[in-house]
């Protein structure tokens, strides 16, 4: 038995298994019902609700009555199918929207940074001297040029991290490259894009030495650390220390990131790992953003057979009315399978 169907709602195809040629053939037709006795094909087109339904069954044993039952089933499924379709579309759109929003922001930052070096506003642009101009600019203020490049580097890392997270969260099968990595090397590479921001806040970074290796997917681990350092930069108290130490067992290694940062209330400690939740005081400071960083960090650590925990300290002191505390983030990784 051959069944062909085509269901349309508001000019959008909800479900179909017919060729584009056939679609073109029937789309503009009025309602019809045909029966080719020789071939045993019954066809129907019916307007329904805000769209239309097409059904064709090739089977000499199907009677008109049975065929009508098939039509009734499709009609019964019409609304749920249509709603399902919108739900899926909305979900997809909102995910893409968030991705586009973040990447647009990073891209705009990169563009404006580059426009400091590559000036496009001058009148009578002499293209041949463009390279000379850039060289002169860099020589005149090499400090500024270096920092500009660094800021661009950070934003590109953030773009790549966004795309990586989007892919992982929206794919059924995730490709991970689980390899041994020197944990100190991973930290150095992941913290590097944030150096300038830590410098601006006069943060001294102290990382313990270790030769320990961990088993992880570098890409996702780097994204997790990126989120943690990105948060640290936003919420750490100025003029303080960011300390990274390690604790070991035979099977596992734990990174302990200690800092004085904004206070997280007791009832919020688990909440901050939930999607779109930002801590009360983070919101107060207007720095909360989408509140999705820690949510993804938790998921990505799970993918690596690891974990991330937030150990909240007690309120220590206040700066401009915002309370700060000695907080810790613990990231656990496996050392061997």
């Amino acid at each position: 038995m051959e069944i062909k169907y085509h269901i349309v709602s508001m000019s959008e195809i909800i479900l179909s298994n017919i060729s584009t040629k056939k679609i073109d053939e029937i789309s503009d037709k009025e309602e019809f019902y045909t029966f080719d006795k020789e071939k045993g094909i019954r066809e129907v087109k019916k307007f329904y609700n805000d769209g239309w339904i097409y059904l064709s069954i090739k089977n000499k044993n199907i009677t008109k009555k049975i065929f009508n039952h098939y039509i009734d089933i499709i009609i019964a499924f019409y609304s749920p199918l249509k709603n399902n379709h919108s739900v899926i579309e909305d979900k997809y759109n909102s995910k893409i929207k968030r991705l586009k929003h973040n990447i647009t922001n990073y891209s705009a930052t990169i563009q404006s940074e580059l426009e400091n070096i590559i000036d496009s506003n001058r009148k009578n642009i002499d293209w041949k001297s463009s390279i000379e101009e850039i060289k002169n600019f860099i020589n005149d203020d090499s400090d500024f040029a270096a920092k500009t490049l660094f800021r661009i580097f950070k934003n590109i890392k953030l773009i790549n991290a966004e795309m990586e997270v989007y892919d992982i969260m929206n794919s059924e099968k995730v490709n991970l490259n689980i390899l041994e990595h020197n944990v100190r090397k991973v930290i150095d590479l992941s913290i590097q894009p944030f150096f300038l921001d830590f410098l601006d806040k006069k943060i001294s970074i102290k990382i313990d030495n270790t030769t320990e290796k961990v088993l992880a997917d570098f890409s996702t681990l780097s994204v997790v650390l990126g989120h943690v350092f990105d948060n640290a930069v936003k919420y750490i108290a100025p003029d303080t220390e960011l300390k990274i130490t390690f604790s070991n067992t035979d099977e596992k290694l734990t990174l302990i990131i200690s800092m004085i940062s904004i206070y997280v209330e007791n009832d919020e400690i688990e909440e901050i790992f939930k999607e779109q939740y930002s801590g009360r005081w983070a919101e107060e400071m207007g720095l909360s953003g989408y509140g999705i960083g820690m949510f993804y960090a938790k998921k990505l650590m799970k993918i690596n057979d690891g974990d991330i925990r937030f150990i909240a300290g007690n309120e220590d002191y206040k700066i401009n009315g915002i309370p700060y505390a000695k907080n810790k983030i613990e990231i656990t990784l496996i050392k061997r399978k």
């Binding site: 892919d167 992982i168 099968k173 490709n175 490259n177 570098f218 890409s219």
Partner: protein, 212 residues
């Protein structure tokens, strides 16, 4: 009185720097990729090169390569293939021992549609993977193929699974040493390892190991 000291002969150890300088890495990418230059000039992989596409499966650059890194988009056209994925399948079919690393800008979802290639490559990377990741994965491939310990481990497993032979690692090492003075062919493999039948799997591993 003199005491006899039996010196056990071991296979000469290959250092990572030796492996890096002799391991041939071929990139197949229609666009210039800075990572290729960095690997060759800065990271010690002195035999790294790039071609824009492959003319034939027996092309010398491919034949001589130990590790092949392929950007699946925009290649395979010269050989009449619709994508680099088909090329990967052809390469792995002809040269099962060569390490193949696939990289692309495509997101994961789309690639899943081409499961066969994904399952046979040794590693998959994003095009935006860092220089560190490329280095780490290439190093992993090179160590797997060319260190004595790893070669012995692989041979031990294949001998156990395909030939029901249980040999110690030091025994396998002795046989490897023996073979290093002979021509690597099916006959010598069979006689040194005392196995019969199709020895292609063992032959391929050992031939590749000695090709460095």
């Amino acid at each position: 009185m003199c005491a006899f000291i039996f010196k056990r002969k071991n296979f000469p150890i290959r250092t990572i720097d030796q492996i890096k300088s002799r391991c041939s890495i071929l990139f197949i990418d229609d666009q210039k990729f800075e990572i290729v230059e960095q690997l060759r000039e800065k990271d010690g992989w002195s035999r790294t090169s790039r071609i824009k596409d492959l003319d034939s499966i027996t092309q010398s650059e491919l034949k001589d390569a130990h590790i092949v890194c392929i950007d699946i988009q925009g290649i395979g056209k010269k050989m009449g293939m619709t994508s680099g994925l088909e090329l990967i399948i052809a390469i792995k079919d002809k040269y099962p021992e060569k390490k193949v690393i696939m990289y692309s800008a495509e997101n994961q979802g789309k690639i899943d549609a081409f499961d066969e290639a994904c399952n046979i490559v040794d590693f998959r990377l994003r095009k935006t993977a860092t220089r560190y990741e490329f280095n780490r994965i290439i190093e992993k491939c090179a160590l797997e193929a060319f260190t004595v310990e790893n070669c012995i481990k692989r041979l031990k497993e294949v001998l156990r699974n395909d030939f029901s032979q249980e040999l110690s690692e030091s025994d396998i090492e002795k046989k490897l040493l023996k073979l290093s003075n002979k021509t690597i062919d099916a006959q010598n493999i069979s006689s040194v390892f005392k196995i019969t039948g199709n020895v292609l799997s063992i032959l391929n591993i050992i031939k590749f190991f000695f090709s460095l």
